[in-house]
């Protein structure tokens, strides 16, 4: 009896000391993660605090306080002096339309090309795929000038030639110009192809025997199975489009066509309203935050490149 009780007590003791040991073992990792998080989140915190300061806080001696002293929500909402008074709604709308179209475009082009690379046999397939991958190595800055010239050329044609001008399509100061270079990417093709390759070949064979052609197989078999990968691509594409700066700056001059990033930057240039600019930054950021929180698992899965399945 006592021997049994003693054994149980020992077991409990060793179990709790095991918990402590486990925590101790993880301590360095957690410390590192916390430090990194603080470093990453600090600028965001500063922006959030500054967006609530009154303008006077920036005009006095020394650095502005790192703690919101006054909570001036008017920076966001007051008519005549808040963000809501700038065309921020218009900016957000522009950003949203641009990002949505880019996302849809990438989903469509990447699904089709990834299907071809994953399942079809055609001469030059591997060479072509390598070429697709190579485009991932080309930084935006390299292609931006030729792309811009292409847009100018297109715009000139569409405005000057009668048989095109009736369409009212604009490549400068218009959505077509904002989205065109980003509708198809090597990254999207690569991401989806890697996932499609994990789909058992027999599923496609079975569909083929049942009389499903490529497009139907894509819609009824491959896309439903690749939902997770499609979601990952969608969120990456949307985030990237939303955060673009250089390209929208280049192809838009009309304030009405500004995206939120540019609009806010223009606002910030107006130094007398720096607190409002900070509020605008937060507003530009909030939709992203919501998106990331909502689709976190697809982001993580995308980063791990299919090695983690869920």
């Amino acid at each position: 009896m006592t021997a049994v009780a003693g054994a149980t007590a020992r077991k409990n003791a060793s179990r709790s000391s095991g918990v402590v040991r486990r925590w101790l073992r993880r301590l360095p990792a957690y410390t590192l993660l916390i430090v990194c998080s603080v470093i990453l989140l600090f600028p965001l915190y500063v922006t959030a605090v500054f967006s609530l300061h009154p303008l006077t806080e920036f005009l006095k001696e020394g650095a502005p306080s790192l703690w919101p002293s006054f909570w001036q929500w008017d920076n966001y909402f007051a008519s005549g002096e808040g963000v809501s008074d700038t065309p921020v709604g218009r900016y957000l709308f522009n950003s949203f339309v641009m990002s949505t179209v880019i996302t849809l475009g990438q989903l469509i082009t990447a699904t089709l090309s990834a299907y071809a690379f994953a399942f079809l046999k055609f001469p030059g397939r591997n060479a072509l795929f390598v070429a697709f991958l190579a485009t991932m190595m080309v930084p935006l800055e390299v292609s931006i000038i030729p792309n811009f010239q292409t847009m100018q050329w297109l715009d000139a044609h569409f405005t000057e030639q009668a048989w095109l001008s009736w369409t009212h399509i604009r490549f400068i100061d218009g959505f077509p110009g904002l989205v065109a270079p980003f509708l198809a990417t090597g990254f999207g093709t690569f991401l989806l192809r890697q996932y499609f390759m994990t789909i058992p070949r027999e599923l496609l064979d079975a569909a083929e025997m049942d009389g499903y052609g490529h497009l139907r197989t894509l819609i009824h078999v491959v896309m439903p199975l690749g939902k997770g990968a499609l979601a990952t691509l969608a969120i990456f594409a949307f985030l990237q489009a939303w955060n673009q700066y250089l390209w929208p700056l280049l192809v838009t001059n009309d304030p009405n066509m500004r995206t939120v990033q540019i609009g806010i930057a223009a606002e910030a240039a107006n130094i007398s309203r720096i607190n409002v600019a900070f509020a605008g930054t937060i507003m530009a950021f909030l939709p992203m935050l919501l998106l990331v929180v909502a689709f976190q698992r697809y982001l993580v899965r995308g980063l791990f490149g299919g090695s983690v399945k869920g």
Binding site: E202, L203, D205, A206, A207, E208, M209, D210, G211, R216
Partner: protein, 363 residues
């Protein structure tokens, strides 16, 4: 009419020959088994019939049509894949109805056909589940349902039972045989499991390295393997194979194997002489070796190396002059490891193969 005829089918993948010059006729409504070890080209042969793979050479005939150029969907056949190939995102109902949706059936008709199929297979209560919520046996049935719902003339089955546990396998074996009888369709059934091949097929074909080795009824192939590969592949435990050479004793033809002269039946002796073979392999099935055989018999002597008791019988490995023989002996015999032991075989059970051509000698 749905006989399936392989006419000189060859399939190359780069330098690899998956199937080599395969000519084979499967009768209408036959249960035909393709048997062979892993990698021998069974799946490839089946995929060529299905139209999922194009032969490098040769033609496939189904019924009276040459279908080599006909797309898979128009060949009027259904395939059950080794891993079932169920669509994980669809319910059982949708999985089974999937193939019908492409074939201009009305909604009511699809519903009736699906319900007929699941009733035949006894899975009516699973219609709403997803494949992930099914056991292996249930998935197997859904895969079958997907095939039978279209009522094709030919069924192609690629090792459909290999993922099931042994009990389930026995049950599904008899169910497939029943299904075949009810459907009256041609079945081509691929397996590497000789028990399945022996019990299910009306006829079977043995393949090795893409080449056809032998075609016949299971009993035929078991009793008269045409070459050493088939002899060694069919049967468990495998046939005993001993190096042998022709000899003469008292003017009678015999073979010397394992240090023993085995007198041959007249017919076999004649054929041996006609073949002119100088080096031989002698084959004896384990069930033909016994403690004693009614005369005339040949006796091998050796030491017991291994005793494997299976409950109903025991497999005894006996070392004989550097060879070893396996015998199936009644479980009632007390046999001890290391003991001296005698095994007898009646001459009519001896099989001979030409060691250089590896072909069978004899009737």
């Amino acid at each position: 009419m749905a006989r399936v005829f392989f006419e000189g089918i060859t399939k190359r993948f780069g330098d690899v020959y998956a199937v080599r010059d395969l000519t084979l006729e499967v009768q209408d409504e036959e249960f035909f088994v393709l048997l062979g070890p892993s990698g021998c080209g069974k799946t490839t042969a089946l995929r060529i019939v299905a139209g999922l793979e194009e032969p490098s050479e040769g033609d496939i005939h189904i019924g009276d049509r040459v279908v080599t150029e006909v797309p898979a969907k128009d060949r009027d056949l259904a395939m059950v894949f080794q891993n079932y190939a169920l669509y994980p995102h669809m319910s059982v109902y949708d999985n089974i109805a999937f193939g019908l949706r492409m074939r201009k059936h009305s909604k009511d008709e699809i519903d009736r056909l699906v319900r007929d199929a699941v009733a035949t297979l006894g899975i009516a209560e699973l219609l709403k589940r997803k494949p992930g919520q099914l056991s292996g046996g249930q998935r197997q049935r859904v895969a079958l349902g997907r095939a039978i719902v279209r009522r094709p003339q030919v069924f192609l089955m690629d090792e459909p039972l290999s993922n099931l546990d042994s009990k389930m396998r026995v049950q599904m074996r008899s169910e497939l045989i029943r299904l075949h009888r009810e459907l009256g369709a041609t079945f081509i059934y691929v397996t590497h499991d000789q028990v399945e091949a022996m019990t299910m097929g009306a006829r079977l074909a043995v393949l090795n390295e893409g080449r056809l080795q032998q075609v016949g009824t299971p009993q035929d192939v078991y009793d008269r393997p045409e070459n050493l590969f088939v002899a060694a592949f069919i049967g468990s435990p495998a046939m005993n194979l001993l190096d042998a050479e022709p000899a003469q004793v008292d003017g009678k033809a015999c073979v010397r194997a394992g240090g023993v002269d085995v007198a041959l039946p007249d017919a076999l002796a004649k054929q041996l002489e006609a073949s002119g073979a100088s080096s031989l392999v002698m084959g004896v099935r384990p069930e033909h070796l016994d403690l004693s055989v009614k005369e005339p018999a040949v006796t091998f002597e050796g030491k017991v190396d291994l005793v494997e008791s299976l409950g109903s019988e025991q497999h005894i490995t006996v070392a004989i002059n550097g060879n070893s023989l396996i015998a199936r002996i009644a479980a009632s015999e007390k046999i001890e490891h290391g003991a001296s032991f005698q095994l007898a075989v009646a001459p009519q059970h001896v099989q001979l193969f030409n060691a250089s051509t590896k072909e069978r000698i004899g009737p």
